[in-house]
């Protein structure tokens, strides 16, 4: 019996509609859903091969308990009672902060998992919460809070009507425009706008595929986007090219203008390695365009001045009237009260870290701090951790330090579909579920869409027999620990009563489940009815794109966009005073990061249907640098920074900026098979091992994943061996 399910892919924020054919609980095919009114036209191989991840050969299908060097299968009852008892003992003895958590994107893409994970953390009350946002998007949250009064106001680009795209630190041919916003098929839509006369400027040290299609590629020095953007503002103010903001009231424009008078254009040009003439030209064209947008993505956020540059990008849009105007940046209010949702998902907290005394951003601390918080003795030291849908050893800086720290924990619980690099010291492995196995409405993405759109994800296949969804595990653990779920006193009794009633009456939906929360959120938004969302299996464009909601959504005290928050002005002056070179004689090259469309960070690289041709990352470098060092294409080299060293093959790539080498992140992550004590995968090398965990963007607490000073050393290896040992999956005893 074959059935067809229409849903969408949850790997990245393109949210491509999918048509899944299922037979006997097995996925037969996954195709793009051509009837999806929002995402059709977009699709990639990640979604196409999703069933290979469901059927992962190392998939966890039962809780696994570490016994010595091996793991043995266990029941959920045993797992939950053991974890609950050990956690309670640790918390009773050492306090709530002795329990730390980390979660990654796969958890965030599941609304039910995210909400109930937060429910568990609130039940326990620990402030030691860490997340992947701190190595990715924290700078946007800081800027949103400072300028719009909320950490959670996302303003996607209005690509179809744009006439001038200024895209900084992004490669939309790979990312499809998505980051903390949903713009399905965004790059093709931008190219369509280009055919109708729009201009595309890409600012990126690397000659990416996007840069090749752009009208102008500005090959900037890594980490210096802020200087380029400040230069644009300098020209705009000096030549009186700013425009009155028509959609939102602004505050502080004159303060920014004064700041631009303190700086010299030639100095900024020298810092970012771009001629003052080019800066002036881009500024004038941007300002003169009838519809323009400046977007800054991870190429910017991964630098030490990432928050500063993000802010300047927003200011540039604001002072040229690009906020909430056609072809600029448009705010979509969505169908739920997002601030309320996020208040639950990432509640405001005053918690500060023990060692570096840093506050949370969007509710969480920086991954860069985690190793020391585990290894440094004292009150508040983390002694137990749960990692849910995350792989922080590979995602974060200095993974070697974190790996060592995780090995010192009294208790490490990993929740995921396989045992990954970061889980190798785990005492308990708890199976996770794949998006094809879950249903639900992801209310968190409603305000990130570039059009009013809603889609309820349908379950395509059931999880492996006996595997609980993550939310259920988190709930059961809170109950077993006797801690009130969501931190709400008395709620555990309600949960138990609802489960009892459901069992007695034979109505499973009566037991507390994520649908309760989804329905309540949709109702509170007062824009859509839950049943109407359910009725649109291909997804629902429930309204026309409209403008003007941003002004109403502002949460600043004076209801104006703050162009000159004092902390950012201070940060700018601090950066202007800093003239230290990042590179040195010992480490003369700058390492930057890149994305690959087929890669979702460290999550999928070992999937057989992806990367059929090159199953590894490599050191991409300019021909000029290769010649200076005497390197040939495919040669294995050692990349070294003061923090670590990795071996990878060289790829010589034409174009871009000499002195810059690119290595994609997410590689070099092993998958372990707890049943057989062997590991597989480990394709490529983890380039984040080269990144220091102490040097952070002081505002976003994000490590410098872009712009790490490195050098290349030769390693002895006979050339004839290269063809065989490059990119082949390895197997080894764990």
């Amino acid at each position: 019996m074959s059935k067809t399910i229409h849903s969408y892919c949850h790997y990245c924020l393109c949210l491509c509609g999918i048509k899944v054919t299922v037979e006997d609980n097995q996925v037969r095919t996954i195709e793009p859903d051509r009837e999806n009114p929002y995402t059709w036209g977009d699709f990639c191989r990640k979604g196409k091969t999703a069933a290979e991840v469901v059927a992962h050969p190392q998939r966890l299908t039962t809780p696994m308990k570490r016994v010595g060097d091996r793991y043995v299968p266990a029941s959920y009852e045993e797992a939950i009672s053991d974890i609950a008892a050990r956690l309670n003992r640790i918390i009773d003895e050492h306090g709530k902060d002795a329990f730390g958590t980390y979660h990654g994107n796969p958890l965030g893409f599941s609304f039910s998992s995210s909400i109930f994970f937060a429910g568990l953390l609130d039940a326990i009350g620990s402030g030691n919460r860490y997340w992947v946002g701190s190595v990715d998007q924290n700078n946007t949250h800081v800027v949103q809070e400072a300028m719009y009064g909320s950490e959670l106001i996302s303003i996607p680009g209005d690509v179809d009507d744009c006439k001038f795209f200024l895209l900084v630190g992004m490669d939309p041919a790979q990312s499809k425009f998505g980051w903390v916003d949903v713009i399905p098929n965004g790059w093709n839509r931008a190219l369509e706008a280009q055919r109708k006369g729009a201009e595309i400027v890409i600012v990126d040290p690397r000659r990416s595929v996007s840069a090749q299609r752009a009208d102008r590629h500005v090959a900037i020095l890594p980490g210096q986007d802020w200087a380029f953007l400040l230069g644009l503002l300098k020209v705009i103010y000096a030549e009186g090219l700013q425009a009155r903001s028509t959609a939102v009231p602004l505050a502080g424009s004159e303060i920014v203008e004064a700041l631009t008078r303190e700086v010299e254009l030639d100095d900024l040009a020298q810092r970012c390695g771009i001629d003052a003439e080019v800066i002036g030209n881009v500024a004038r064209r941007f300002a003169a365009s009838p519809a323009a947008m400046c977007i800054t993505h991870t190429g910017v956020s991964h630098t030490q001045a990432g928050t500063l540059a993000e802010w300047l990008g927003h200011v540039l849009n604001a002072v040229t009237d690009r906020l909430d105007t056609p072809g600029g940046k448009r705010y979509e209010r969505g169908y739920v009260d997002l601030a309320q949702v996020f208040g639950r998902f990432a509640p405001a907290t005053k918690h500060r870290t023990r060692l570096r005394d840093l506050p949370t951003i969007a509710g969480f601390h920086s991954l860069a701090e985690l190793p020391d918080e585990i290894t440094t003795p004292g009150e508040g030291q983390i002694r137990a951790m749960m990692i849910a849908g995350g792989n922080p050893v590979v995602s974060g800086p200095d993974g070697a330090a974190l790996d060592k720290a995780l090995g010192e924990l009294e208790l490490l619980v990993a929740v995921d579909i396989v045992q990954r690099e970061s889980h190798r010291h785990a005492h308990w492995l708890i199976p996770g579920t794949h998006f094809l196995e879950r249903e639900g409405l992801h209310a968190l993405t409603a305000g990130l869409m570039d059009r009013p759109f809603a889609q309820y994800a349908q379950q395509s296949v059931k999880p492996p027999l006996g595997v609980k969804e993550e939310w259920e595990f988190f709930t059961d653990l809170a109950l077993a620990m006797n801690k009130p779920l969501f931190g709400v006193r008395g709620i555990n009794a309600v949960v138990r009563a609802s489960r009892f009633a459901a069992r007695k009456l034979g109505k499973p939906g009566w037991a507390l489940n994520p649908r309760w929360i989804e329905r309540a959120l949709v109702a509170s938004g007062r824009r859509l009815k839950f049943k109407d969302i359910l009725a649109h299996e291909h997804g629902w464009i429930y309204g026309e794109k409209s403008y003007g909601d941003l002004a109403k959504a502002l949460r600043t005290p004076d209801k104006r966009v703050q162009l000159a928050p004092p902390t950012l002005l201070w940060r700018c002056r601090q950066q202007l005073a800093d003239r230290r070179a990042v590179t040195s004689e010992n480490y003369p090259l700058l390492l930057i990061n890149r994305r690959s469309r087929e890669s979702m960070n460290s999550w999928l690289n070992e999937t057989p249907g992806l990367f059929e041709q090159q199953r590894s990352n490599s050191v991409e470098m300019h021909p000029q640098d290769a010649e200076t060092l005497g390197l040939y294409d495919g040669q294995r080299v050692r990349l070294r920074s003061p923090t670590g060293a990795i071996d990878l093959p060289v790829s010589i790539i034409e174009g871009g900026r000499p002195g810059v080498v690119t290595v994609a992140h997410g590689w070099g992550s092993r998958i372990f098979d707890p049943r057989q004590a062997v590991s597989a995968g480990g394709l490529g090398a983890n380039r984040n091992l080269l990144v220091d965990r102490m040097t952070l963007d002081p505002m976003s607490q994000t490590p410098v994943l872009n712009g790490t000073a490195v050098r290349i050393d030769l390693i002895e290896s006979p050339p004839d061996k290269l063809a065989t040992d490059h990119g082949q999956p390895e197997s080894e005893a764990a």
């Binding site: 793009p32 977009d42 699709f43 990639c44 191989r45 196409k48 041919a173 059929e612 041709q613």
Partner: protein, 87 residues
């Protein structure tokens, strides 16, 4: 709009496994793969993701609108072949 394979195709099928919608024909294993002069993209199925163009070692895949006039005939050649495969 779709991507189009031009006559410089060398049939190495580097593009076939990266296509997210499997719209490149014939595939290794298909009866006519051994005798095909070149591969073809079905314009009705192509999602313009650019993956084939990146994978092609000889630059034989171009977006339709970037075809120079002297190669524009390949647009129809691709479409006709794809129709033949599906017929």
């Amino acid at each position: 709009m779709a991507y189009v394979i031009i006559g410089t195709c060398v049939n190495d099928a580097a593009c076939v496994p990266v296509c997210p919608v499997d719209c490149i024909y014939p595939r290794p294993g298909d009866a006519d793969f051994a005798t095909a002069d070149m591969l073809f993209i079905d314009p009705d199925e192509c999602v313009n993701c650019n993956a084939c163009a990146e994978a092609c070692p000889v630059g034989a895949v171009l977006p339709e609108q970037n075809l120079p006039p002297h190669l524009s005939r390949y647009k129809d050649i691709n479409a006709e072949f794809a129709r033949g495969v599906k017929a």
